[in-house]
C-alpha cells in the first residue's frame, strides 16, 4: 500500500507549514472563517468533507489506521495554521477521543468497523460522561448497563453532552458493577444515537446556542460487542483520555486567537497606544509566550514517546485562565460595547462580549480548574490529603 503522506516527510517544518497554509487558502470554505459560535454539523460539513477527502482529518492517528501519523510538533504546526486561518472547530470527539481510544484499547473488529466511519464523516460522536449528580465526581456516575444475553441494557441520564443532536453515536461510561469500589465498576460502551429508548433534550447555553444536551436512556439495548476493552475497566481508559483532552485544552490556540482580537479591539477603540493598555497587553502577551514554551515542553515529551503524568493539568489550568483574562481585558476596554449582544457594528470580527462568555466554561469542562489544582497539589506536589 502506498503511503499518501510520505511526501510530507520529505519537507522540513517550514516547508510543511507553507504547504498547510497554502492548502487552507485554496480549500477552506471562506464563509466559515472565524465563526462566532461553535458550528453545528450541518454548517461544518463542507469543511469536514474537505479534510476527509484530503486525508487530513486525523493528524495524530498512526498511518496504518488512516491518520497522518504526524509528530506532536507537526500537529502543533497544523493547529497553529488552522487557528491563524480562522478554521472552525469540527464536531471532533470521534477524531480526538474515540479514535485514540479504539487504537489503544479496541478490538481488531471495533477498529475495522469504526475508524473508517470516523474518517469518512459518517459517524459523528458525542461524549456521554457527565450526569446531573456526577460532574467533578465522575466516578459516582449512575447510568447503568446490565447484561441480558447478547445485549447491555442501559438506563440513566447523561447531561452537558456537547452537540448530541448532531451526533449519531455516543461513547458512554456506564456502571456495570454496583458492588465494586466506584472506579472499578465502570465500563465503556459505544451506542448508536438512534437506538430505541434514547431521547435528547437540547439545552440553551449562555451563548444562547443549543450546543449541549441532556441524553436519556430508557432500556436501551446495546450489542454486547460494543463494549470497549474489559468489563469494569472503563475508568482507567477514560482517565487516560481525559489526560489527552487536557493537552488538547492546554493548547495556546484559544488564547492566541483572543490576544489578536484584544489588539485589534484596542486599535478600534483607540487605546492601543495608551501606557495602561500597553502594560496590560504586554503582560498577557508574555503570559502567552511562556505558555507556548511550557506547552512545547510537554509536546517534546510526547515526541519522545513519554507518557504525560498529572502535571499536564498545568496546561489546561493556565490556558483557560489566560484566555479568560484576555477576554476580561477586552470587556474593560470595549466601553459600552462590552454589553452588546451582537458583534460590534462596523467590525463583525470584534465581539468582546461573545468571546468573554465563550471563555467562561473553559475553566469548567474537561475537569474544572479547582479539580486541576487538586490534582496538582495531590499527585504532583504530594501534599497531604
Amino acid at each position: 500500500m502506498t503511503d499518501p503522506h510520505a511526501a510530507l516527510d520529505q519537507l522540513d517544518d517550514a516547508g510543511f507549514r507553507a504547504l498547510v497554509r497554502g492548502w487552507l487558502r485554496a480549500n477552506y470554505p471562506p464563509e466559515l472563517r472565524n465563526p462566532p459560535h461553535r458550528l453545528h454539523l450541518a454548517a461544518a460539513r463542507p469543511w469536514y468533507d474537505r479534510l476527509a477527502a484530503q486525508g487530513w482529518l486525523a493528524p495524530g492517528w498512526p498511518r496504518e489506521h488512516g491518520g497522518m501519523g504526524l509528530s506532536a510538533a507537526r500537529q502543533m504546526i497544523m493547529i497553529e495554521e488552522f487557528e491563524r486561518h480562522g478554521c472552525a472547530r469540527l464536531p471532533d470527539h470521534g477524531i480526538v477521543m474515540v479514535g485514540p481510544l479504539l487504537i489503544q484499547h479496541g478490538s481488531e473488529a471495533q477498529r475495522a468497523r469504526f475508524l473508517p466511519k470516523i474518517l469518512s464523516g459518517d459517524h459523528i460522536w458525542c461524549q456521554g460522561y457527565s450526569e446531573p449528580n456526577a460532574g467533578s465526581d465522575l466516578a459516582s456516575l449512575r447510568t447503568e448497563a446490565v447484561l441480558e444475553g447478547a445485549h447491555w441494557v442501559v438506563n440513566g441520564q447523561k447531561t452537558w453532552t456537547t452537540l448530541a443532536t448532531d451526533a449519531n453515536w455516543i461513547f458512554l461510561l456506564a456502571r456495570t458493577d454496583k458492588t465494586a469500589r466506584k472506579q472499578d465498576g465502570i465500563s465503556f460502551l459505544l451506542v448508536p444515537m438512534d437506538s430505541p429508548g434514547i431521547s435528547v433534550r437540547p439545552i440553551v447555553n449562555l451563548e444562547l446556542q443549543d450546543e449541549f444536551c441532556e441524553v436519556f436512556f430508557d432500556n436501551v439495548r446495546v450489542p454486547r460487542e460494543n463494549l470497549v476493552g474489559a468489563v469494569n475497566r472503563g475508568w482507567s481508559m477514560a482517565k487516560a483520555l481525559l489526560g489527552f483532552e487536557r493537552i488538547f485544552l492546554g493548547s495556546p490556540r484559544q488564547s492566541a486567537y483572543a490576544l489578536a482580537r484584544l489588539r485589534r479591539l484596542a486599535e478600534h477603540v483607540g487605546v492601543a497606544e495608551e501606557a495602561g493598555f500597553i502594560e496590560r497587553h504586554t503582560r498577557l502577551r508574555l503570559d502567552l509566550a511562556d505558555h507556548q514554551a511550557l506547552y512545547e515542553v510537554f509536546a517534546a515529551r510526547l515526541r519522545r514517546g513519554e507518557v504525560l503524568g498529572a502535571e499536564v493539568s498545568m496546561l489546561k489550568l493556565h490556558q483557560s485562565e489566560l484566555f479568560q483574562r484576555i477576554t476580561e481585558a477586552m470587556l474593560e476596554i470595549a466601553g459600552e460595547a462590552a454589553g452588546l449582544l451582537e458583534p460590534m457594528a462596523g467590525n463583525r470580527d470584534l465581539h468582546p462580549s461573545g468571546l468573554f462568555i465563550q471563555a467562561r466554561p473553559t475553566s469548567i469542562y474537561g475537569g474544572s480548574n479547582e479539580i486541576q489544582r487538586n490534582i496538582l497539589a495531590r499527585d504532583v506536589l504530594r501534599l497531604p490529603g
Binding site: 449562555l206 444562547l208 470587556l331 454589553g339 452588546l340 469548567i364 479547582e370
Partner: protein
C-alpha cells in the same frame, strides 16, 4: 435647594417593601425573562405601578409633588432593583425628574410619560459636553448608548446650548436600537432640526447620581447572585460532601464577600457625600471610587458565581447567567472602572493631603 430627608432604617424598609411588588425578593425572574430581547423591553403596566409607588419622584422636592428623598434613598432603591434585575429604566428617569418643567413633570411622576436622559455622544466617555445644537426651538443631535430608549416618550437632551426636551415622535427624530446581553437595548437617537423645548438647568449632578445609582444597582446584582451561589454551595454534593465544605471554595466565597462589602461601604460613603452637598469635585471623586469598585467587583462576583456552580450555570435556564449578563452591560455604562480611576487620579487631591 431643599435638604433631602435623611434616610433612616424605617425609610429603607418602606422602600424595600415597595420594591418587592416589582422585584419579588424570592427571585422570580419569569417577568424579566419574558421581556428579554423584545422591544420595548419593559412592561408599561409595571411602569404605571412604579409611578404609583412614587419612585419616579424620589428626588423631586415635596413641594413639586415628589418624595424629597436623597441620594442615599436612591441608592437603596437601586440596590433593590438590581437584586431583582428590574429592566425598567427607573433610575435614569428618576435622576432627571427634578430638572423637568412642571407641565411635563406631572405626567412623568404618575407614570404616563417616560422621559429618559440622552447625553452621550461618544463611546466610553463621561463627558456630557455636547456638539448637539438647539437653535430657535429646533434641535439637531446625535446621541448614543441610551439604555432602553425604545420605551421613552421623550428625551432630555444635552446640547451645547443647554438642555432640550424632545418628544420621541417629533418630526425629524429617529431612533435605532442594538440589543444588549441582558435582554435590553441601547438606542441611538438622531434629531435633525426637530421641534424641541429648552429646559433650564444642567445635567452634570444628575449624571453623577445616575453613575452612583448604577453602582448601587450592581451591588444588588452582586448581593442576589452571591446569595444564590451560597445556597448552591450549601446544597450541591460531590464526592459525598457539600461542595461548600471544600476549603478552596470557602476561601473564594470569603473573598467575594469582602469585595461586596467594600462596594457597599464605598457606595454608602459616596451617597452620604452627595447628600451632604459636597463640591462637584469631591462628589465626582466619591462617585468614581464607588463605580470603579462596583464595576470590577460585579464582574468578579458574577464570573465566580458561574464557576462555583459548574456546568449548570452555563445554561440560559439557570438564573446565574442573567446576573452575569446584567453586570456585563452595566460595568461600563456611565464609565468603566478604568475611566473612573482615571477621573479620580485627575481630580483627587494629592495623597499626602490624606495624612492630616
Amino acid at each position: 435647594m431643599t435638604t433631602p430627608i435623611p434616610l433612616d432604617d424605617e425609610a429603607i424598609r418602606l422602600l424595600r417593601d415597595s420594591a418587592a411588588a416589582i422585584a419579588p425578593p424570592g427571585g422570580d425572574f419569569r417577568r424579566i425573562r419574558a421581556l428579554r430581547y423584545h422591544l420595548p423591553g419593559i412592561d408599561p403596566a409595571v411602569w404605571r405601578q412604579i409611578g404609583e409607588l412614587g419612585w419616579l419622584g424620589l428626588r423631586v422636592a415635596e413641594a413639586a409633588g415628589g418624595a424629597g428623598l436623597g441620594v442615599q434613598a436612591l441608592c437603596a432603591l437601586a440596590r433593590e432593583l438590581g437584586a431583582g434585575l428590574v429592566p425598567e429604566p427607573i433610575l435614569a428617569a428618576a435622576v432627571i425628574a427634578p430638572l423637568l418643567p412642571p407641565a411635563t413633570l406631572a405626567a412623568v411622576l404618575d407614570g404616563t410619560r417616560i422621559i429618559l436622559p440622552a447625553w452621550q455622544e461618544r463611546a466610553n466617555s463621561l463627558d456630557a459636553a455636547s456638539a448637539s445644537v438647539l437653535h430657535d426651538g429646533r434641535l439637531s443631535a446625535h446621541k448614543v448608548f441610551v439604555p432602553m430608549a425604545a420605551c421613552a416618550h421623550g428625551f432630555l437632551v444635552s446640547t451645547r446650548d443647554g438642555l432640550a426636551l424632545l418628544a420621541a415622535d417629533a418630526e425629524g427624530v429617529s431612533l435605532t436600537t442594538e440589543p444588549t446581553q441582558d435582554g435590553g437595548h441601547f438606542g441611538t437617537l438622531r434629531a435633525t432640526k426637530a421641534l424641541s423645548t429648552p429646559v433650564a438647568g444642567a445635567l452634570g449632578p444628575a449624571l453623577e447620581e445616575a453613575t452612583l445609582a448604577t453602582a448601587a444597582y450592581l451591588l444588588g446584582v452582586m448581593d442576589r447572585v452571591f446569595a444564590l451561589t451560597l445556597d448552591y454551595l450549601r446544597t450541591r454534593e460531590q464526592f459525598g460532601r457539600k461542595i461548600g465544605s471544600f476549603q478552596a471554595l470557602q476561601h473564594r466565597a470569603a473573598d467575594l464577600h469582602l469585595q461586596i462589602e467594600l462596594t457597599r461601604a464605598s457606595i454608602d460613603a459616596a451617597a452620604a457625600t452627595l447628600d451632604a452637598g459636597a463640591s462637584a469635585t469631591v462628589a465626582a471623586c466619591a462617585v468614581s471610587r464607588a463605580k470603579a469598585r462596583a464595576a470590577e467587583a460585579a464582574l468578579l462576583v458574577t464570573r465566580q458565581a458561574i464557576q462555583l456552580h459548574g456546568g449548570i450555570a452555563y445554561t440560559d435556564e439557570y438564573d446565574a447567567g442573567l446576573f452575569l449578563r446584567k453586570a456585563m452591560v452595566l460595568a461600563n455604562l456611565h464609565g468603566s472602572a478604568a475611566l473612573h480611576r482615571a477621573r479620580y487620579a485627575r481630580l483627587a487631591p494629592p495623597e499626602d493631603a490624606d495624612d492630616d
